[in-house]
Symmetry: none
Subunit: 195 residues, 4 copies
């Protein structure tokens, strides 16, 4: 498996840097190769084509993303706690990887529909995981018994995605992680607030 070779990750990391610095449409394969310190042709020993680099990039990073989130959530009891930890760590990972944040929140979305559809497949695991937490919250009686978990999941993901994107578009000037408690509270209690 080529994925075990160090050059595989070397190329993906070079792609993240190159896309973050130059933008999606200004990222030629030759630029990625240069950033990785290898020849253009070497890319094709590890990836089928340019699109394959981008999908692999997303898969690798998202797998890592989900793994980390699952880790921190593992010890938590309540659904509310899990949701808070998920949001905070979602924001934290993006904050700790500013270039990756630019790539996933802005640049990769400019890809063509086929690539985006494949990216969405990768994303699906994360969305399913979110919905799973919501369902557990309903079952435990912690959340409203009539909660539409599908819509709630779209609200949750739409919210953190929008907030993360706004943060990236504002040059990551403020502390994203610090917003987590506010966001979590809003999602749980709504605009109306405390009972």
């Amino acid at each position: 498996m080529r994925r075990n070779k160090p050059k595989y990750h070397q190329i993906i990391d070079a792609a993240v840097i190159t896309i973050a610095e130059n933008g999606y449409h200004q990222t030629q394969v030759s630029k990625i190769a240069k950033q990785a310190g290898i020849a253009d042709g070497t890319i094709y020993l590890y990836f089928k084509n340019k699109e394959d680099i981008l999908i692999s990039l997303f898969q690798e990073k998202m797998a890592n993303f989900i793994e980390k989130i699952k880790e921190v959530i593992a010890g938590k009891q309540t659904a509310a706690e899990k949701i808070f930890m998920m949001i905070e760590n979602h924001f934290r990972i993006l904050s700790q990887n500013p270039k990756l944040a630019v790539v996933t929140q802005l640049e990769l979305r400019q890809s063509n529909q086929e690539l985006r559809r494949r990216i969405n497949n990768v994303l699906k695991e994360y969305l399913d995981f979110i919905e799973q937490i919501l369902r557990e919250g309903v079952e435990s009686g912690e959340f409203a018994p009539d909660l539409d978990t599908r819509i709630a999941r779209q609200m949750l993901f739409g919210t953190i995605d929008e907030i993360a994107t706004t943060w990236v578009m504002n040059k990551q000037k403020y502390d994203l992680v610090a917003l987590a408690p506010t966001v979590a509270k809003l999602l749980l209690k709504g605009f109306l607030g405390e009972k």
Copy 2:
């Protein structure tokens, strides 16, 4: 101003149809011209360049969007009512313009960062309008006094945008407008539900 000429809108409508049917990256200027029944060069009598068509498209449609939303909200008293009407009509307008929905929710997002930044400027008026309603809700005591209206606005827009995008990606198979009450309730009361 060229905007008064009939061909101006003829080109914009042709762009919506062409982009919806072919996708953003498969939409060449020549295809728009053909759809509009004019020569390629004629496009440049009404628009500075290709990007100008897309921005104008978004501006025209978004202006119309906001105007309609404001109309239906005009008579409403409470912020909760206004928010519900906003969501419902946001969904309704997209439902009534399936091709425009495809263009704004999917295709236009593939544009380059510069174009998206300019689209966001157009969107800003809508976002400001949303935040205005939220602030009124706080001031009237209807919403939580400590509501962070900026974050709440991002939550609201992120939610309806995510739900609309999911609907489009699912080929608009189900009734989007019917989701409005559920969405509004979720935003107001959160996952926890009734007090």
Copy 3:
């Protein structure tokens, strides 16, 4: 029809010159365009792709070839006369178009199998025409009654093609047309000669 435009033939003629001077594999589309005095992209207004230029080249020239041969043969009575005129004019046309001769006898044969198969389709009309003359010769009693016209046609074409190719490979140093009587006599009477 684009074929009526002067630029269509301008490009084909530029292709003949470029291929003859540089060889098949050293002929880039940009070189043809330069030779034709037009922009690279203009080529694609008249031809689907590079292969299309080469097939069209062959079709145009071969149609012209067959037409000329048929003209000079029209007035001839005996099959022997027709065959002699065919050979002589085949050689004459090649002699009068030295660059075209290089292209058809040497360069175009380096093309890939698909292109060569399509070239053979064009050639088929010429081969059928040859066989037709042979059949007439048999029917009129001029040729041996048991003549296998299919094999005889392959002998005739194989012979003139080999002689023409040898002439081109020898830099067209000698008079090809002058060989026609010898070749015709050989084909009619064989190695054994006069009866």
Copy 4:
């Protein structure tokens, strides 16, 4: 000399198979290596470059070709018999090596002009041998005293080459060897036939 090593012939035979099965332009050095069961780099221990493989292939097979033809001709007395045996065995060897036939009649001709020129040098020995037989036929009084042996040789080779190529292009569907008597008779007596 590397030619004595078993791997030398192993590579040549792998080249014949690979080219016959994939076509000239689809035959990469790596494919030949794979077919031979060795590493890419090993090829270069036995051959200077890719072209060298193809020329060596042709040389080896052609030497074998000529040797076999000479053997069967050795015992024949008349030039006519020799020519018949040559044609029949030329066809027989091709029939017995269908893949080699594809390679020599079709694929190798797609090579560039330089390679084809070097292949022609190898072919020259065969052509000289043919012309030698023709000269002997003239000297013995068997053939016409004024026979132009150079042209006659081009006729002979052009004919059998065209017939062999047509047979390969028709997927070797019919019996090539069975055509030998007809071809020989045609070459000796021409279209006019019996005296």
